[in-house]
């Protein structure tokens, strides 16, 4: 039945369209002019529409910034994150400024020089000075951004350590994360996928003495203010360990180890007191109560950000940042590999 109705509607739609075309054609014939020719009236209309579009675009940009910027990630919870965010803000201002300069000019010119029969365009083919200016000016702006960006990048990727970083392994597999702490010696024992067996889920080499004190955990706890060196491995396909609140991300690639280091700077308890975060949580909980879902408390997250299969969209783990003491207490509760195997 729905099938027949759909077909009837489609046929009617096509017939209507055909009739409409006839009307277009007849009316332009009546006006003694060919439909496809662009008239002054068309130019006028379209020119105004262009201007209107330009204005609407700028207005909606501001509206989106106003309405949706608060939905973006709150302040960074790591030391280097602050640096990244300030680079981000500056780059963002530059590109928004360029956007606000170039788009209005484009739509303004389209409107301003909309065609008319009695007008003639200028014959203006080039101007070396102008072209020089708009090669050089972007080059200078970009040079500044490049230098700033490269400095930030090398600070982030090759941090200078005053304290020895805690070594933590993040092991990815379809579709979950496993965490291994390096234990007393702060050195991870050798591990390989070939050694995975029963409870030995990350494949540590039990003969490697370094591994005895390693601890496997199902949550990430980090002490605030201490650098953490994450070492990433994967068991099956490429995953990506994405910790957006810390402005941190690194791929987990089977067959090799990658790493990323950062220093958490805000505890979970503290970030929950942040005004922006509280507003965010309030908004989210309002939505959730409406839908009858359990209420939500803000947590730092580890997400998978490289497509890895059907469960990719739900490969997550909480990260808890806490004081040194809380961390030490939590870690002491975790069993060592030697104890579990």
């Amino acid at each position: 039945m729905t099938g027949i109705i759909t077909i009837v509607v489609l046929v009617l739609a096509v017939i209507t369209a055909l009739q409409l075309m006839r009307v277009f054609e007849l009316s332009s014939k009546a006006r003694k002019q060919v439909e496809y020719e662009v008239t002054d009236r068309d130019n006028n209309y379209q020119g105004w529409l262009m201007l209107l579009f330009g204005i609407a675009m700028i207005v909606s940009l501001f509206w989106m910034l106003y309405a949706w910027l608060p939905l973006t990630l709150p302040k960074p919870a790591s030391e280097h994150g602050v640096e990244i965010d300030s680079l981000f803000k500056i780059s963002m201002w530059v590109i928004i400024a360029m956007f606000l300069l170039v788009q209005p000019i484009l739509f303004y010119l389209a409107w301003r020089y909309r065609g008319a029969k009695d007008r003639k365009a200028a014959y203006y083919e080039h101007n070396n000075r102008l072209e020089f200016i708009w090669t050089i000016v972007p080059a200078i702006i970009l040079a500044v951004l490049i230098i700033y960006g490269m400095t930030t990048w090398s600070n982030v990727m090759s941090p200078k350590n005053e304290k020895e970083p805690i070594v933590v392994e993040v092991y990815a597999q379809q579709f979950k994360w496993i965490i291994r702490y390096a234990g007393e010696d702060n050195k991870l024992g050798y591990a390989n996928v070939r050694l995975i067996k029963d409870a030995n889920v990350v494949g540590v080499d039990t003969l490697d003495l370094l591994s005895a004190d390693d601890k496997v955990a199902s949550e990430i706890h980090l002490p605030v203010g201490r650098p953490v060196l994450f070492r990433f491995r994967s068991q099956d396909v490429i995953h990506s360990a994405y910790m957006p609140h810390f402005r941190a991300q690194m791929n987990c690639v089977p067959g090799m180890t990658t790493q990323f280091q950062f220093t958490p700077s805000v505890t979970t308890a503290d970030i929950r007191q942040d005004a922006n975060v509280q507003a965010k949580v309030a908004r989210i909980n309002a939505l959730r109560t409406e839908k009858g879902l359990e209420s939500y408390a803000y947590d730092y997250l580890l997400l998978c950000n490289k497509v890895c299969g059907s469960g990719h969209f739900n490969m997550q783990m909480n990260i808890v940042v806490e004081s040194e003491e809380e961390y030490a207490k939590w870690l002491a509760e975790q069993k060592t590999i030697a104890e579990t195997l």
């Binding site: 020119g47 680079l87 956007f99 200028a122 014959y123 299969g309």
Partner: protein
């Protein structure tokens, strides 16, 4: 075969300038199917590309439903996807499959073959003043490789385990191991076969374009009198010849890993509880090979659209394109740089941080020639006498999206910033605007502008306007908001964001995006209708409907083998003498001799 030989002999006869009237009547097969005429092959590329485009856009509408209302039931999903959407709820594997095939189709089938295949074929011989491509036969073969690859890609939608699902970049090991996801089984094999055919066709086509532009230009058509379209097609073809073989090698090694037990990309893997014996390979090798093609590929998509825009904007501003030589220079600069930036897709794969800096540097450099192009387009409008044909509207839209999307590239190209936005919806917003929208708009501009040349009839302007405005508004409506979901940390290729309460408040944005996506998708019906209606019923095209300078408008409206009856016109000037002082008309075609005392460009 006999037919081909005859066609071939015939083309040669043309080249020698024999009489054309005694052409044997084409039958259906030689005229529409096994044609070696560049104009017909262009139309074949266009129609195939349009069909693939409809499939690709339709897929995006399906998966947008899931993204706006995750887990809800839509009977339409079950109608089209059957067991992949039991009770109308999309299966996560099918979600990934749809995204993957959508991306693959849009990038390769629509905007590489559909765009550059159509317009390189149509315009290269007509605008440089040649009777046909250097090799009509190879040209035909190139289309048939493309057609075959399209068929294989579409077939892969129907295999039991579903089509390839690892994303359009098909990174191994995910794409190499059928145990890792169902789409990596037979679907992935078909994907690889299809892409191999595709690369074959694309290479043959590109070589033909290059040879034609270099060798078959008519008298007087020096390189600096070439329309910018031709420059763009030439450089695009060169990019293709240099980069597609690398994709092919990446695909071949993947085929070996999948079916012959090699370990180019595989090492130390246990998947679905099974330990694999592969050792010593590296998935990163694949990423390097892929992106060595992948980045030039985005310019393979974009440059033809920019070339088309240059032509359309100059013609309809009734003004010379501003900074012709700077435009050529920036095309060349972009092309060169596009080979040394691939690493910006791999900042967080664990590459040496120093390399990251190098790629940041080269990537941000590309912004300079791109900015020059944008400014030159804008200055071309200044003091123009703008004729708003639908093609012109789309070209202006292209400049707008090129700027809007290019600017966010400055964020993504910066390795330090990429750490946090890599693979989020910010990236999806960026590449759709700068590459997807710009190229699609360029393609529409091309179709509206050269439709009279292809079909000898005119498209309906009013419908063109309607199509343009709905498309332009919805396009921004779909992709602009994605910047914000990306900045909220939402990863791409997520079947649903509902597992993370933190993304709950993005729901409204996702609904808005989906409404725009559906609206924009449906608006394409207007275009399709206009296209076919005008093809059969549209008013007959005049000789030079847009009062344009380039040579194609001197060829007769009715198509003929060899393009021009009698001698090929000789080129006397550059293609952009619009509104030149000293001339009554506001255009001076390229074959009009320079007057005494006239200043040639």
């Amino acid at each position: 075969m006999a037919d081909h030989a005859q066609e071939h002999a015939h083309d040669t006869a043309h080249a020698e300038g024999h009489d054309h009237d005694e052409h044997p009547v084409d039958n259906f097969w030689t005229k529409y199917i096994f044609s070696t005429d560049h104009k017909m092959i262009a139309k074949q590329f266009l129609i195939t590309g349009m069909f693939m485009g409809l499939v690709g856009v339709f897929m995006s509408m399906l998966f947008r439903l899931q993204l706006a209302w995750p887990g809800e039931s839509f009977p339409i999903l079950e109608t089209f996807l059957g067991k992949w959407a039991p009770d109308g709820v999309l299966d996560p594997n099918m979600y990934l499959a749809l995204v993957t095939i959508h991306g693959t189709i849009m990038v390769f089938f629509v905007l590489t073959a559909g765009l550059s295949g159509t317009f390189s074929n149509l315009l290269i011989p007509l605008q440089i003043g040649a009777r046909d491509m250097a090799s009509g036969f190879l040209n035909m073969i190139s289309y048939w490789f493309f057609a075959a690859s399209s068929v294989v890609m579409l077939t892969s939608l129907f295999v039991e385990t579903g089509p390839a699902s690892g994303g359009w970049t098909v990174y191994p090991p995910l794409s190499a191991l059928p145990q890792a996801m169902p789409g990596s089984g037979a679907g992935m094999t078909l994907w690889l076969v299809s892409m191999t055919l595709f690369v074959g066709g694309s290479l043959i086509g590109s070589l033909n374009y290059i040879v034609t532009v270099i060798n078959l230009r008519t008298k007087g058509m020096t390189m600096t009198r070439l329309p910018l379209t031709i420059w763009a097609f030439l450089v695009t073809a060169i990019l293709g010849v240099l980069s597609f073989p690398v994709l092919l090698s990446a695909a071949l090694l993947l085929i070996f890993d999948r079916s012959m037990g090699t370990s180019f990309y595989l090492s130390d893997i246990m998947v679905a509880g099974e330990l694999l014996s592969n050792q010593g390979g590296s998935p990163i090798l694949y990423e390097h090979l892929f992106w060595f093609l992948g980045h030039p590929e985005v310019y393979i998509i974009l440059l033809p659209a920019l070339g088309i825009t240059s032509e359309v904007i100059a013609t309809n501003s009734r003004k010379p394109i501003f900074g012709y030589r700077a435009m050529i220079g920036s095309i060349l600069a972009i092309a060169f740089l596009s080979f040394v930036v691939w690493g910006h897709h791999m900042f967080i794969t664990g590459m040496n941080p120093f390399l990251g800096s190098v790629f940041t540097f080269t990537t941000l450099l590309i912004a300079i020639p791109s900015a020059v192009k944008a400014f030159n387009y804008i200055t071309t409008l200044w003091k123009g006498n703008i004729q708003f044909t639908p093609a012109m509207l789309f070209s202006i839209a292209l400049v707008s999206t090129f700027v809007a999307g290019g600017l966010t590239g400055i964020i993504l190209g910066d390795s330090a910033l990429d750490i946090n936005v890599h693979d989020t919806y910010f990236v999806v917003a960026h590449f759709h605007i700068v590459m997807g929208l710009s190229a699609i708009f360029g393609m529409f501009a091309g179709v509206y502008h050269w439709f009279p040349k292809m079909y000898g009839r005119m498209m309906n302007k009013t419908m063109g306007y309607l199509h343009f405005w709905i498309s332009f508004v919805t396009a921004y409506g779909v992709f602009f908001p994605m910047h914000f979901t990306g900045l909220a940390g939402l990863p791409r290729r997520y079947y649903s964001s509902a597992e993370f309460p933190i993304f709950d408040e993005l729901h409204d944005i996702n609904v808005i995006i989906t409404f725009f996506a559906i609206g924009g998708g449906i608006a394409q019906v207007i275009f399709i209708f206009n296209f076919f209606y005008s093809m059969w019923r549209g008013p007959k095209a005049p000789q030079n409907p847009w009062r344009s300078n380039t040579l194609e408008w001197t060829a007769p409206v009715e198509h003929m083998h060899g393009n021009w009856p009698g001698a090929i016109p000789e080129v006397q000037r550059w293609p952009y003498d619009y509104s030149k002082p000293g001339y009554e008309e506001d255009f001076v075609p390229q074959n009009v001799p320079i007057k005494k005392g006239e200043h040639a460009h």
